[in-house]
Every structure is written in C-alpha cells, then in structure tokens.
C-alpha cells in the first residue's frame, strides 16, 4: 500500500488496560506530511491508539502493549527506548486546552529551555515562529508576558499547539482538539491543520465527521477496539468498503 512514505506504522497492536483489551490487532500506516483522522463511536479506542503512538499510555498503571509501533524504523516499545525522546519527536495536543499557569512566553519556552535553548534571542525567535505557525502571533504579540490563563479557550488551544510546535516535533497528535471550542475557533484550528501538514505529520481524533472530511487525507474508522476500515478520506466518506462504516457515517448506527 503506502509503505513508501510512512512515518509511523502499528503492527498487530493489542492494548490492555489491566485485563480489558482496548485495541485488537490494529495494523496501520501513517503517511508523512498527511493528516490522518481517527473516527468511531465513543469508547472504541481512538484516544487509546493516539496515546499509544507517543507512549503517553505508559503513565497509566497496569497497561500493556503487544505488537509493534514502528517510528522511523525502530519499535518505540523496544527496551532501551526512552519514552521522553519519543514524546519530543511526537507531540500532543489534548482535548481540553491545558496551558501552564505561566506567561504566554514561558508556556512556549518551557520545553525548549529544558532542551538547551538558553539564549534570550533564540527563545524570542522561537516564540514568534511557533506563535506564527499556530496563527496566534498577531493576537498575542503585545501581551506575551500575560498569564496564558487569561486567553480565551480557542486562543489557549492554539497556544497549546504553538507550545507543541516549539519542540520541533515530526508528528503532532491531536485528540479532539476542537471539541471544547466555538465554531470560529474551530474553523481557525482546521485552517491551521491544513497549513501545518506541509511540515508535520498530523494524526487527529475527532467526533465530527465533517471535520474529518474537511481536514484529513486518510481516515480510519474504529469500532470496539478494531480498525474496521482505513482508506483515503474521500473514498471512506463516499464509497466505504465496509457496511459498518457506511452505517456509522450516515448516522444509522446501532
């Protein structure tokens, strides 16, 4: 299939919360510089898969992974791989905007500073670049020293995107990044995603079918922990291979 340009592959991945099997035999190929959307009913394992890709699930006690997650040729679950390195390369934006209770400036420089970006000049450049990439610069350039908590929800979410971008990751994981936002902020973030895919690979979980159709190149449909269908977005939404997919996207699910 599309193996030539893939950046992350999952191979026969099973995932367990304790004894509960949340993902069953998921094999998937995420293509570089494309947007892949993960859709499916609540509880089908979309967030689980997303958090598996940068080892955020490690933080939950009693979880277990089977199979392989290949990122640029290496299995990120191999012993000896530091999850911290993985998370640096594969950034994450969460469902609820979660800026730190610091200034806008310090939110962006928090990660880079700990990775050796010390000079004030480099930091200022980085802040401007990241905020521009997240199309937030114009709105906040005069208030960089204000607490990030004073921003609106949509601005906070774009700040979180800028914060993730400041680490210069290769992949950006987004878990329902607009579900807590109003339509205008949502539109802004969707535009942003279209911009970002030039430089980043984006994997996005969404409950909003139109959103998946608008922003993504590929879409994977999940049901009860299984990947039911994985196809180019246009095909999946117009001529799905599977009956279950069709039922879900047309809202006749049950």
């Amino acid at each position: 299939m599309r193996t030539n340009d893939s950046i992350i592959q999952t191979k026969q991945v099973n995932f367990f919360y304790g004894t509960f099997k949340a993902l069953i035999d998921v094999t998937m190929d995420f293509e570089k510089n494309k947007v892949t959307a993960l859709i499916g009913p609540s509880g089908c394992g979309k967030s689980t898969l997303l958090r598996l890709l940068n080892r955020m699930n490690d933080l939950i006690d009693g979880t277990r992974v089977e199979g392989e997650v290949i990122f640029e040729g290496t299995n990120i679950y191999d012993t000896g791989i530091d999850p911290v390195d993985i998370r640096r390369r594969i950034g994450m934006v969460f469902q609820k905007p979660n800026p730190f209770p610091k200034t806008i400036f310090d939110n962006i420089t928090y990660g880079p500073k700990l990775n050796g970006v010390r000079s004030k000049d480099a930091q200022e450049t980085l802040v401007q670049q990241s905020l521009e990439q997240a199309s937030l610069w114009e709105e906040v350039k005069d208030i960089l020293n204000r607490s990030a908590m004073t921003l609106s929800g949509g601005q906070q979410q774009r700040l979180c995107i800028a914060r993730a971008l400041a680490m210069r990751p290769d992949v950006l994981l987004m878990d329902e990044p607009t579900s807590a936002l109003d339509p205008i902020s949502t539109a802004k973030i969707e535009e942003l995603i279209a911009e970002l895919k030039r430089n980043y690979t984006i994997i996005i979980v969404t409950h909003n079918m139109q959103q998946a159709a608008r922003v993504s190149d590929y879409t994977g449909f999940f049901y009860l922990g299984k990947l039911i269908e994985f196809n180019p977005t246009e095909k999946l939404f117009t001529k799905p291979d599977e009956k279950q997919t069709e039922e879900y996207i047309t809202g006749r699910f049950g």
Binding site: D61, R87, F94, K96, N98, Y110, L114, N115, A164
Partner: protein
C-alpha cells in the same frame, strides 16, 4: 411545609450555637490570658535572662530556644516530608505496600507527643549520644510534625491538575523535571501553609523537648546545636510546677503563656495570609 421550615430553622440554630460557643470559648480563653499576662510584658521581659530563681527578669533565652528548636524542626522535616510525599503520590506504584505506608504515616500523626519525646530520648540523646541539646530536640520535633507535613504535601500535590503533568510529559519533558518545574511550584503554597500550621503546633509542645533539649535554666545562650536551651512551653511548665516560688512567678507564667500563644497564633496567621493570597491568585 411549616414543619419542614421549623426543622430547618431548628437545625440552623443548633449549628449556629455550636459555632458560636466554640468561638466564645476561644475568645474567653484568649481574653483571660491577655488580661492576666499583659502586665508582665515589657521590653525587659522579652529581652533579658531570668533572675533570682526566675522570679524576676525576662524570658529571652526561652523565646530564642523555641525559635531554634522550631526552625531546626522545619529544616529537618520539610525536605524529608516533601520528598516522602513526592515519592508516595508521584512515583510509587499505588498498591498495598503504599497503602500500608500511608496508614502508618496517619497513625504516626496520632501518636501522643510524649511518645515522640521518649523516642527522641532513646534514639538521639542516648543511642546516638547527641545528649540533651538543640539537635536532639529539633530532630524529635521534626519527627513529630513529619506526618503533618507529608499529609499537607500529598494533599497539595494531588490538587495540581493532572492535565499539567500530561502537558509537560507530552512535550517530552522527563518525569523528574515535570515534578520539579510544574508540579512542585504549583503545590508549594499548599505545602507551605499546611506545614506552617503543623509547625505552629509543634512550637507549643512540651513533651517532645522535655527530655531531648529543654533546660530548666541556662546561664548562657547556646553557642552550638549541641547545647541545651530553654524553651517557652517548658518554661511555663517549670514556672507552674517545679519552681520554689510558684506563687511569686504567677504573673511571669501568664506573661510567658501570652508570648507563646502570640507566637503560635502569629505563625498561624502567616499561614492564613499566604493561603488567602494564593486563593485570590489561583489561576486554574
């Protein structure tokens, strides 16, 4: 309908009565101490050594001693308590072992202070041969307030939203750095207020220092942590029970109690001010 209102009013009345009677009791107690003790307070009382079998002079060495002991207890217990709390709530895998440790810590908080005193006597004074001195007393007081500090710190750490940790870890920041730069700074105010309240209590304890640090009378101020000191709570105890001139020292007893209570309340007040300042500034 009527009956329900009546019940509600009756209930409120009882609750209000309970609250007011507690406030009244505390108020009466404070006023009594203030009225009886204020006469003894003077610059001389606060700045001089006791004289003539403690019937004259001041209580400066006891104030200083209590300060040393309490400060020492903080220096010992705060890092230890915060570190334990970080381990318990951030690092340790939650399970039966950690549960048992937590129960143990809670039990420790309920152990009578005289037991801590005897423990300190056995371990620091006798076994480690520190003798009765500031170090032994501060260590004993430190252990006494350790459970309070661990409890307050765990509470404060837990109140830091999980989303902050996820945000930091998701950026590829290590767990240790996340704790150091995100979790601790946000928990620090809570840790401090909780700990200060505990320390205020420790400053007023007699039993833990009786065998480990406190002296009946010292002619000189301590010159090292291996010297004995006078201390306010023990001084009250001595004046009230062990002196030869108990009646003559009565005003001095009240004066000393007043100073001690003022110190403890002052410390509590600092904690309350910090807390209300933070509540106002709280940003999440």
């Amino acid at each position: 309908m009527r009956w329900r209102y009546f019940k509600q009013h009756a209930f409120f009345a009882i609750v209000r009565l309970a609250a007011f009677s507690i406030a009244a009791a505390i108020g009466a107690f404070l006023v009594y101490i203030l009225v009886n003790g204020i006469g003894a307070i003077s610059w001389e009382f606060l700045s001089e050594h006791p004289r003539e079998s403690m019937t004259k002079g001041g209580i400066m060495p006891a104030i200083l001693g209590t300060f040393y002991l309490t400060a020492g207890a903080i220096i010992i217990a705060l890092p230890l308590g915060v570190a334990s709390a970080i381990y318990l709530s951030e690092y340790a895998k939650q399970g039966p072992v950690i549960r048992i440790i937590r129960v143990g810590v809670n039990c420790l908080a309920g152990v009578p202070s005289i037991v801590f005193g005897l423990f300190g006597l056995g371990l620091f004074v006798v076994f480690l041969q520190f003798g009765s001195c500031i170090l032994s007393g501060a260590l004993t007081l430190g252990f006494l307030i350790l459970p309070t500090i661990i409890g307050a710190s765990e509470e404060a750490l837990k109140s830091v939203p999980q989303t902050f940790r996820e945000a930091s870890l998701g950026l590829g920041v290590s767990k240790w750095q996340t704790i150091l730069r995100i979790v601790l700074p946000n928990a620090l105010p809570g840790i401090l207020t909780g700990s200060i309240l505990g320390i205020g209590r420790a400053a007023g304890e007699t039993a833990p220092i009786m065998f480990t640090a406190a002296a009946f009378f010292t002619a000189k101020l301590p010159s090292s942590i291996f010297d004995e000191v006078m201390a306010l709570p023990y001084h009250v105890y001595v004046l009230a029970t062990a002196g030869t001139y108990i009646e003559e020292t009565r005003p001095l007893q009240y004066g000393t109690v007043l100073v001690l209570v003022a110190l403890v309340l002052g410390v509590d007040l600092i904690a309350i001010i910090i807390r209300s300042y933070i509540r106002k500034k709280k940003r999440w």
